[in-house]
């Protein structure tokens, strides 16, 4: 029989979640800037700096400690990794120079690749936005919106379009949006080459 000492008698493999390093190693290997989280000393400056902290289920700090504790499911299905708006407050303030923004985006992409969709809406919008950039080298607002709405299916798409009709007209009126389609930037093929190369160099996350 196992001998147990301590103020609280825990049974082996019982009360707590077992620490294991396999998920941490997976992140170090597959996520952009993933290895940098080793340097996190859990001070919480990122959490305190984050404007979206209130909306997040886990702060960046806690995401990192969950990774180190091996809690794969929690991290990859977390809302927080999809919520980062790239304000860079955390990255600028991190005393250990952890590129928090990059890690959060890297984790989001990795989660999507692994079949997790913590915030499907956000992911869909991001994909359409990025598709626009890749195709045109710029954003065509009506094109992004159209593709995003139709991404929900035809019926839902038309409903969303009708809901947002007034905003679209307003933007046209104030010349924030053109009626004609945007043309690609000059030499958009060179931009695509650069983006392709950047993608090949990274670990699968878009920039």
């Amino acid at each position: 029989m196992d001998q147990v000492v301590g103020p609280k008698y825990g049974s082996r493999g019982g009360a707590g979640k077992a620490y294991n390093q396999s998920f941490a190693r997976e992140v170090y290997r597959n996520v952009d800037s993933g290895e940098e989280i080793k340097m996190c000393m859990q001070c919480g400056v990122c959490a305190a700096s984050c404007p979206l902290k209130e909306k997040m289920d886990f702060s960046p700090r806690k995401i990192f400690t969950l990774i180190r504790a091996g809690q794969r499911e929690k991290v990859l299905s977390s809302q927080a990794i999809m919520l980062c708006t790239s304000c860079y407050s955390c990255k600028v303030r991190c005393p250990r120079k952890v590129p928090v923004v990059d890690v959060m985006h890297g984790l989001a992409h990795y989660a999507l690749r692994q079949g997790y969709k913590p915030r499907a809406e956000t992911a869909l919008f991001g994909q359409k936005f990025w598709g626009n950039i890749y195709r045109l080298g710029r954003i065509d607002e009506k094109d992004v919106a159209l593709r995003y709405f139709l991404g929900h299916g035809l019926g839902q798409g038309i409903k969303l379009m009708m809901e947002n009709k007034n905003m679209g007209i307003g933007m046209l009126w104030y010349k924030r949006m053109k009626i004609l389609p945007e043309r690609p930037i000059k030499n958009v093929k060179s931009l695509r080459k650069m983006l392709d190369k950047a993608k090949a160099m990274g670990k699968g996350g878009a920039v």
Binding site: Q3, G6, Y9, R12, A15, M41, Q42, R61, A69
Partner: protein, 711 residues
């Protein structure tokens, strides 16, 4: 010496506008018959100082009273060589805080002057105490890293050193060390003990005693007689000053059963881990297999009220070092560090970063339970403070307890002092030899004996080296001060010393018991045997002596008593009470000065008398003052108790105890006990000080005037 008194009154800084200077001059010339009495509008200027210098050189003035600003300022300007001098403060205490031209303002300035002139009357020029056969040798007890560094430091400064080590080899704990972390804290470094020892052995000024112990240390600074026993024989050497560098021992892990120590073979201490690493492989003690999963438990017993309440400051670095051993043995090994706070001060933070980069897993939290399976694998349940969850660490090969440092001084008296107050250095509640650690961290409570290294405070080797050098410098300060007959510290440069009029001694033992520094031994008939080079000149013995037989050349019971008697006490009908404030010159006086600089009004009925320490306050002064018609006495000194700030350790505490007993005296005089009060004040309490004074004065005014006025 025939005294020729010269009184110099400054009228600058607003003094002239505030006071009637002619009346002040009359006090000097009429009441004290001063042959020279001059004023100047800028006494500290070149012209003023030259005027005084000319009088000293040409006119034979050898007793100077400078009636101007606080003695804490301009002391470099008012320096006239070996003459008797006293500074009367009529600026910070009078002109800057009391209404100009007021009768009470003038009275206070005149009384301050009277007290200063009485003080000069009662003083004689100090003659330094010259001990015979002074030695300039430094004794270093303990040949570990700190001891060796201290020895080399003192030797290279030109002082002979005796280095005494109880083991057969020098090096102390370093003999057990595998690797060292030292600046720049980027990677592990070799211990290099051989080089250290060679450096000591090559130093011609150092005489090494190994396998040796201190049998006895008698005497005092400059004249310590040290008996060293070695190989069954003993020799006696005279030394000037002593460094104790006897180091530390690990906290007893047998008290850490809740962490599994002693129950499970694979739970070891960081010291055992270090020895294992030095001997080769890091393995499981149960079966000798290589350790692949290692957990370090930080603060094992440290920062815990039930074990060691303090932080040993090195255990974090040690665990980071030992984590690196594990990673170097097998980069795939898992290293967990369960911590409360990682404390890697200054540049050693770089080493923390290195271990993080190498893949060390840091878990902030506390162990709940530890258990063992049939294969002696350990399993730990902990509460993770950052996840706010209970977590489990499985299949651990080794658990290392990062135990803290305990000073050897906690239960060993390596010095065997032949002091009436015991053979060891007095220690604080954690066992470290203590003194006023806020102001004088190097000092112990035994003059001329300093501690260095981990016996003084837990520290890593790099800091140990600095600490040892500092202690070596302190010994040199002590040796050189003693050689010229000066007090060492904190009254550096004080040439006076207590003199005992033995014919009137009643062998009551108060001085021998109460001296905070053990300076006074006793003979078999309880006669005090002062060791004057041990003395710090606080005057606690003078305050203790009921027969008033202990005096300094410029500080005595008679002198302060006469100053009190010199104060003019108006009749009760005048409604001008008089209260004496005996203020400690270390903290309370500067605080009063600061109140003056900030022009915070004080009550004009106070008369301030600066004392070396509240410990030197003799009860007879209080009795004299009250018998003369003074309405109250307030004592202002440093904080007492566990976190005392008294510069002489026990002075303020002793004063407090003595004052508690004074009600008897007051009863005999039929006076209210509220007339005497003791207050604690620290140097930065300048804003609180006037409040305390006003509060006490209000209480005194509520009482009837002292009925002894006019007697």
């Amino acid at each position: 010496m025939d005294k020729k008194l010269g009184v110099y009154i400054c009228t600058g800084c607003g003094i002239g506008e505030s006071l009637d200077i002619d009346a002040l001059k009359k006090v000097a010339s009429k009441e004290f018959k001063a042959p020279v009495c001059k004023t100047h509008s800028w006494l500290c200027g070149t012209e003023g100082v030259e005027m005084i210098k000319a009088d000293v050189a040409g006119d034979g003035v050898n007793t100077l009273s400078i009636v101007a600003c606080s003695p804490r300022v301009k002391y470099d300007v008012f320096d006239f060589g070996p003459v008797l001098m006293d500074r009367v403060n009529i600026r910070e205490q009078v002109a800057w805080v009391l209404p100009a031209g007021d009768e009470d303002t003038q009275m206070m300035a005149e009384d301050n002057m009277r007290m200063g002139l009485v003080k000069l009357n009662k003083s004689t020029p100090p003659e330094p105490y010259q001990a015979e056969n002074l030695s300039k040798t430094v004794l270093v007890v303990g040949g570990g890293f700190a001891g060796m560094n201290a020895a080399v430091g003192a030797a290279q400064a030109g002082y002979p050193v005796l280095l005494v080590e109880k083991e057969a080899n020098l090096g102390g704990f370093m003999n057990k060390m595998n690797k060292r972390i030292r600046p720049p804290y980027k990677e592990l470094k070799p211990v290099d003990l051989e080089d250290q020892i060679k450096k000591v052995e090559a130093e011609p000024n150092i005489k090494i005693f190994t396998s040796a112990q201190i049998e006895k240390i008698a005497g005092g600074p400059g004249v310590f007689d040290v008996t060293i026993s070695q190989n069954g024989s003993s020799t006696t050497e005279r030394v000037g000053s002593v460094i104790q560098a006897t180091g530390w021992k690990p906290y007893d892990a047998n008290k850490l059963e809740h962490l599994g120590y002693g129950k499970f073979p694979n739970v070891i201490t960081n010291v055992q881990m270090e020895e294992m690493a030095k001997n080769g492989k890091i393995t499981r003690p149960s079966d000798g297999k290589e350790a692949k999963n290692v957990l370090f438990i930080q603060c094992a017993g440290s920062r815990d009220e039930n074990h060691l309440a303090y932080c040993s400051s090195v255990c974090c670095l040690v665990s980071l070092k030992q984590a690196t051993y594990v990673k170097e043995q097998d980069p795939e090994a898992a290293v967990y560090i369960l911590y409360k706070d990682i404390r890697t001060p200054h540049q050693s933070e770089d080493f923390y970063r290195k271990v993080q980069k190498d893949g060390g897993i840091f878990i902030r939290g506390e162990l709940n339970a530890i258990s063992e399976d049939g294969n002696k694998n350990l399993s730990v349940e902990a509460s993770d403070a950052l996840l706010n969850e209970t977590i489990q660490l499985e299949e651990l090969d080794l658990v290392v307890l990062a135990v803290g440092m305990v000073p050897t001084s906690i239960d060993e008296t390596a010095l065997n002092l032949d002091y009436r107050q015991g053979p060891g250095l007095p220690v604080n509640k954690y066992g470290f030899p203590d003194s006023n650690f806020i102001c004088f961290p190097y000092e112990t409570q035994r003059t001329g004996i300093y501690t260095a290294g981990c016996v003084r405070s837990p520290m890593e080797t790099a800091i140990c080296a600095e600490d040892a050098t500092g202690a070596a410098l302190k010994t040199i300060q002590c040796i050189e001060s003693t050689a010229i007959g000066s007090s060492t510290f904190p009254r550096s440069g004080d040439m006076t010393y207590p003199e005992f009029m033995m014919s009137r001694c009643t062998q009551c033992k108060r001085c021998t018991e109460e001296c905070p520094f053990g300076a006074i031994n006793e003979d078999e008939k309880a006669n005090p045997l002062p060791n004057l080079t041990r003395c710090r000149r606080c005057g606690t013995c003078m305050g203790a002596c009921p027969e008033r037989i202990i005096s300094f050349k410029n500080y005595s019971v008679d002198m302060i008593g006469s100053m009190i008697k010199g104060i003019e006490v108006p009749d009760a009908d005048d409604e001008k009470p008089r209260v004496i404030a005996l203020i400690c010159e270390n903290d309370a006086y500067p605080a009063l000065d600061m109140a003056g600089i900030n022009r915070i009004p004080i009550d004009p009925f106070y008369r301030f008398i600066s004392v070396r320490c509240l410990g030197s306050v003799n009860l007879v002064w209080i009795a004299d003052a009250l018998a003369k018609g003074i309405d109250g006495v307030i004592l202002l000194g440093c904080r007492k108790g566990d976190d005392y700030q008294c510069h002489f350790i026990k002075g303020s505490e002793l004063a407090n105890t003595r004052m508690e007993k004074i009600s008897e005296t007051l009863g005999r005089l039929a006076l209210e006990p509220e007339r005497v009060r003791v207050e604690e004040i620290s140097i930065n309490d300048y804003d609180r000080l006037p409040v305390i004074l006003n509060d006490f004065m209000a209480r005194i005014k509520e009482l009837e005037p002292n009925p002894y006025k006019g007697f």
